[in-house]
């Protein structure tokens, strides 16, 4: 019987297979950041171990880093200690590090791909759940805990329990106003936050094949929000074109050998998935979340659902608690919801295409009075590219704040946070209670919806802007 893409990559990395034991998998690329690594390095020190393969390991600073005044000492002493700890650990163990201020610094999941380190058919791990991002290249990439970080540092391997395979096939073409973010939010709403549990999802179908690498990364990034171990997309010409010429992409004969191998990384026609989901692209529309988990989403044109409409008692209870936390009531049109803050950035939507599409909506328009808009590029390279294209000017002229690269308000570990009761439209990945700051309320949106929302002051799509002058803003906003 044929094998799926995920099974092929897995099989190529089995170091040891024994009855009654999980497979021991070789790890091709280990990404590190300051938050989940200090205790792992401590463990190495205590047991007198070294980093087995510094040449397969790379670190950057992203979660804690400020996005303004980066030339000044970091104000929060605890954040500063954590960053200094990473610097000391990398120096002591010989790990390549891109610290704050470095040209290659940025969100770890933006840095790996742009350097060309993330390649098809590789295994990629990082102490961060959004490692699933790298699956966009046909890599098997998953988030791990700190104990596993230590394990990979010491052995370059991980014992891994077997996974199940799920195909999410997106048939047809996406409507013009539907982005990768809308698509993945709709997929998560369909399968649920636990629906992917134990699975590696392969996204396939015409709509997926037409996506750019940036868009594919957005899709795979949020696989974890469906509970999946990983998300993958088969590599193709789009993937190869993205990689060619990047700093760490293979060259010469190695490139030819790599591409030949990469072309084999497709699910065989006779392979069988453990579970299949089919999505009709034509039925999709801009999608936003109303609740406190990423599965609680609906089309922007819809209304906040009534908790009583959920058949499952725990979903009903979750919806009740979510509405209470979010300060929303059933039946309220999503478009009526006013926001205080708009955040464009994160490993989900902090790449150059995301900034371009947000800028396109903002060009010649103004951020609404009373709305704060933060634009945080995913990496320094993305920032430099945006400046080269004049996007930073578009943002600042519209009244948005153009910031330095990092995770920023996606999780508010740095000073970029919502205040209690504040509401955001955010291009990030999690709308959990307090995720963007204590008491903050988050609506997950695409960069386009984020920008349109910034202009109107309430949840909106670019289509709402064309007739902004003729239609009064909804009552109660």
């Amino acid at each position: 019987m044929g094998r799926t893409l995920a099974e092929k990559v897995w099989d190529d990395h089995v170091v040891r297979r024994a009855e009654g034991e999980p497979d021991l998998l070789y790890i091709d690329l280990h990404l590190l950041h300051e938050v989940t690594s200090p205790q792992a390095f401590d463990g190495l020190r205590k047991s007198g171990r070294r980093v087995r393969r510094t040449d397969l390991t790379i670190a950057t600073e992203d979660h804690n880093t400020p996005t303004i005044d980066i030339d000044k000492p970091i104000a929060d002493p605890v954040s500063r200690i954590q960053l200094e700890t990473l610097r000391k650990n990398c120096a002591e163990f010989g790990v390549r590090l891109h610290p704050l201020g470095d040209r290659e610094q940025g969100v770890v999941h933006v840095v790996g791909p742009q350097l060309g380190l993330t390649q098809p058919g590789t295994t990629v791990v990082c102490g961060d759940s959004h490692t699933s991002t790298h699956g966009a290249f046909g890599a098997l990439a998953f988030g791990i805990g700190t104990s596993q970080v230590e394990h990979v540092l010491a052995t370059q391997t991980l014992p891994m329990a077997p996974f199940r395979t799920m195909a999410v096939t997106v048939r047809g073409e996406l409507p013009a106003d539907v982005t990768a973010k809308d698509l993945i939010l709709a997929i998560i709403a369909r399968i649920g936050t636990g629906g992917g549990q134990g699975y590696v999802i392969e996204y396939r179908g015409e709509a997926i094949e037409k996506l750019s690498m940036e868009a594919r990364m957005t899709i795979c990034n949020m696989s974890i929000e469906a509970g999946a171990r990983a998300g993958m997309i088969a590599p193709d010409e789009t993937t190869f074109a993205y990689l060619r010429g990047r700093d760490h992409a293979p060259t010469g004969a190695d490139w030819d050998a790599a591409v030949e191998y990469w072309r084999t990384l497709r699910t065989d026609d006779d392979a069988v998935f453990d579970h299949e989901v089919v999505i009709e692209a034509a039925e999709l529309a801009p999608f936003v979340t109303w609740g406190t988990n990423p599965g609680q989403g609906v089309p922007l044109s819809a209304a906040v659902p009534d908790p009583a409409s959920f058949a499952d008692p725990s979903e009903r209870l979750a919806a009740e608690k979510a509405l209470e936390y979010m300060g929303l009531s059933a039946g309220q049109p999503l478009r009526d919801i006013a926001v205080d803050t708009v955040f464009v950035g994160s490993c989900t939507n902090g790449r150059i295409e995301d900034l371009r599409s947000a800028a396109e909506v903002l060009r010649g328009r103004r951020v609404a009075d009373g709305v704060r808009m933060l634009v945080v590029p995913g990496s320094v390279r993305v920032a430099l590219q945006a400046v080269e294209e004049g996007l930073d000017k578009v943002f600042t002229e519209a009244g948005a704040e153009w910031r330095h690269a990092g995770c920023s308000m996606c999780l508010g570990m740095n000073p970029d946070q919502l205040k209690p009761g504040e509401r955001s439209a955010s291009t990030s990945n999690r709308n959990f209670e307090g995720r963007q700051g204590k008491g903050g309320r988050t609506h997950l949106v695409s960069p386009q919806v984020a920008a349109a929302t910034a202009v109107t002051g309430h949840l909106a799509s670019p289509a709402d802007l064309s007739d902004l002058t003729s239609v009064p803003t909804p009552a109660g906003v």
Binding site: D42, Q197, A318
Partner: protein
């Protein structure tokens, strides 16, 4: 890792689904560089409500957490496991755990037990009716016992043995260093390298 064989203690019923790791330990706690001192951050936001179940005097000293489905979703932060352990929890029962959280828990000796939601509901009723009711999580027999409830649970034999013996994963893996080296010798030259030689 500390071995886990069997544990008996009072329980906390947490009637919530999708308890994500941001709720278990908020991000600002993640700046610490140690594995301890996270107990005050456990469910920090919810604990501001005096009526939150963890704040009830009758739940003080409870060591078994009984939660709704999809416990531990979201971030891979192992700090969530450390926070539960620092607070005093030895075991968590739910009908469904997020994969990364579950992996992290078993690597730290926090036993995560999967039971049917119907059984979880019964356990909730038992420990809500009598906060003094003790729940036993027995990994030797793979059984959960509470007054009027006895149910078996699944855990793969490999994880079970590691927990029972408190084995260190890294030492186990390094026994196979020759196999790792053999795999490395066969890796194609086009694979990425972070350091240019």
């Amino acid at each position: 890792m500390e071995a886990f064989t069997t544990h008996t203690g009072r329980a906390v019923p947490l009637r919530r689904s999708n308890v994500d790791t941001d709720q278990i330990i908020p991000a600002h706690w993640l700046k610490k560089v140690t594995r301890d001192g996270f107990e005050d951050g456990l469910f920090e936001a919810w604990r501001r409500d005096p009526e939150f179940v963890l704040n009830r005097p009758e739940r003080a000293g409870a060591t078994v957490l009984i939660a709704g489905p999809d416990f531990g979703t979201g971030s891979s932060r192992e700090h969530a496991v450390w926070a539960l352990q620092n607070y005093g929890f030895k075991a968590v029962i739910s009908s469904r755990f997020a994969d990364i959280f579950r992996g992290n828990s078993l690597k730290n000796g926090l036993l995560t037990v999967i039971l049917d939601q119907a059984v979880v509901e019964r356990l909730w009723e038992v420990v809500e009716a009598d906060p003094g009711a003790e729940v036993t999580v027995d990994l030797v027999e793979r059984v959960v016992r509470a007054p009027g409830v006895e149910t078996s649970f699944e855990l793969d034999e490999n994880s079970r043995q590691r927990l029972l013996e408190g084995l260190d994963d890294i030492s186990l893996t390094l026994r196979h260093e020759d196999e790792i080296a053999a795999h490395e010798a066969g890796r194609p030259s086009h694979k990425p390298r972070t350091l240019v030689p």
